[in-house]
Amino acid sequence: MHTVMIITFMFRSVAYTFIRHFVEEEIFVKTITVLFLSALLISCAPTAKNTRIDEKHVHEQGEFTKHYKESLFQLSEKGMYSVELVLKEPELKTGINAVDIIIHDKTDRDVVDADITVVPWMPEMGHGVFEKPVITERGGGVYTVDNIILIMSGYWELRITIKEASFVDKAVFEFRDVKVDRGHEHKMTEAPADLDLAAKKLTDNKMFNVSYKSMREPIPINRIHTWELAVLKADGSPVRGAVISLDGDMPEHGHGLSTQPEVTDDLGNGKYLVEGIKFSMPGWWVMKFNIQSGDKEDTVMFNLMLKE
């Protein structure tokens, strides 16, 4: 009986080593592929954005020309205009977007003073959005479209209507795969293996010594709660009357807290009350504090690894 157990153990550890090896191998292959693809993409990527290619801007009769190197180019449905679309960011994403539209007519004249409307549309779902894009004419046939709010990922069209006196024409730009914007102002990073989970730390420029204590232990998930923050000077004396702001972040997920916590009370003796903290899920969280006292200002970040 005993032998069987030992052998079972041996067998399983051999199997694990094998599997681990295999997984590492796969990661290696993936890394190479990703590197190769990125290299390919970088080499294809445009070197200069929004460069006008027709510096001379010759107006010839009868033919439409592309004026912006990185633009998406289209003729309007009735063939009255050429419409160019320049994205302000590499691609459209869910959330707020902005684009430039450049319009020329058959004689390659800049179309100015036209009445432009832009409707974001999901053709597969037959709906648009609840807020209208804002259009500002820039002159020279350029119109900036702000506040294009795409409410979900998927297949979108930007339907553009151009009106000049009694002429009306349309152009539709398709965006087959608008993606979720992965968190704004939140960078995505993986948790390092040796995460420093200390609850007491020196600020980044060593001006203050900061520690936190949660009024609820263990730190809860899905529950609004209060912390007490203690701020000391380098010599160990308390920092009174500091101005403190804070923010929380889930670096692996690219999102922040689901509340907006604040320091609501100066408890004296370098202690401060932080109210309104709430963590919406388990995992790695970073709490960042900015501390200002007199002419000194410094920041500190605490890592938390929360479990249910």
Partner: protein, 414 residues
Amino acid sequence: MKKSFYRVLLSMMIIAVLCASSAWPLDLHTWSEDEMTTLKSLWIGSLPPVPADPSNKYSVDPKAVAFGKKLFFDNRLSGNLKVSCATCHPANMNFADNLPLAHGMGTTTRRTMPLIGMAYQTWLFWDGRKDSLWAQALGPIESPVEHGFTRTQCASIIIEHHKKDYEELFGPLPALSKRDLPASAKPSPEEPSALKAWVSIPRDKKKAINRIYTNMGKAIAAFVQTIMPTPSRFDDYVEAALKNDFSRMVKTLANDEVKGLRLFIGKAKCTNCHSGPLFTNGEFHNIGLTQPENLPPDAGRSDAIAKVLADEFNCMSEYSDARRADCSELRFIDTDTYKYIGAFKTPTLRNVAERAPYMRAGQISTLEKVLEFYRDLKPGQRSADLEHGELNDLQLQQLEAFLRTLSAPLDFAK
């Protein structure tokens, strides 16, 4: 010598087969310390006692519960005398109507939500536009597609039919004549004629009407709060695991269900949002669902933040019993509307198998399809919270089998 070698080889082969099929019961039911913590956090036994609602001082008063129950089932509180809360939240169907969109006096643009463990919810409705159960109850009553009723009509009904119940709880009813209570009067910008009638009522009378209306909401809330889950097979399993009662564990859940559970708390990362004993974090997420074609676009939480802050019946309003300091959720509400475009409240998964169709507008008809939806979200289309490894068909079946273990009858004030 030779014989023993073969014996060893044979046992290795048997073990290999057992390992590969992972039907090895010991392994299947062995949970690490971390996994045990997660299991315990999902267990019904981890539900804390019902927290008091500081904004409703009647929330646990048995008289309020009894009165609220009457009102919950009262058809008179509707424009056509046919709709009560129970029309869309029938008690014999786990308080849900199992329709893609709800039908009252008209059709809503969202699905009826299950009412399970409501006492623990911070934000109410799919978009969280209400911050208490009593304020929530007052919404459907004045919605033209639900009860199609008004607060003035409610006051009339209370005065006429529920005087005794009301006065025992809330004290004497204010003196309001028929003339003070025009039928169609409510502060609703969508219905200018009703708005005009409301604005024309003298201020102190308006307050008196609102007081009756909010007290009514508080009684209904006291009843709704009593609707609670009871232990499901999953809970029995966790209880057995906590007691190290191996044979009971094996008897309680089938192998597929346990594998599904392992995926749910592990690789599939469902507990990122479906966490805690009610399987919801109560937060708002855009999971990349598409809005049905026949419905208007729905911005979800993004549009509700200002609504709850401006709500005439929120935690900081004059009709709330809470001190300002007790209104933490409202005081520290995240006002980043951009972040919540298309985000909706994570629904509880208790009794989920009993209430198809799914999602905020009933756009997915079966559990199987819900799981396919989660699997087929392309990496670029899903937020990092929804990131999970490849899931194959068998694993989806296991997840579904697990979700089916979460059913159990609901308990509520009898």
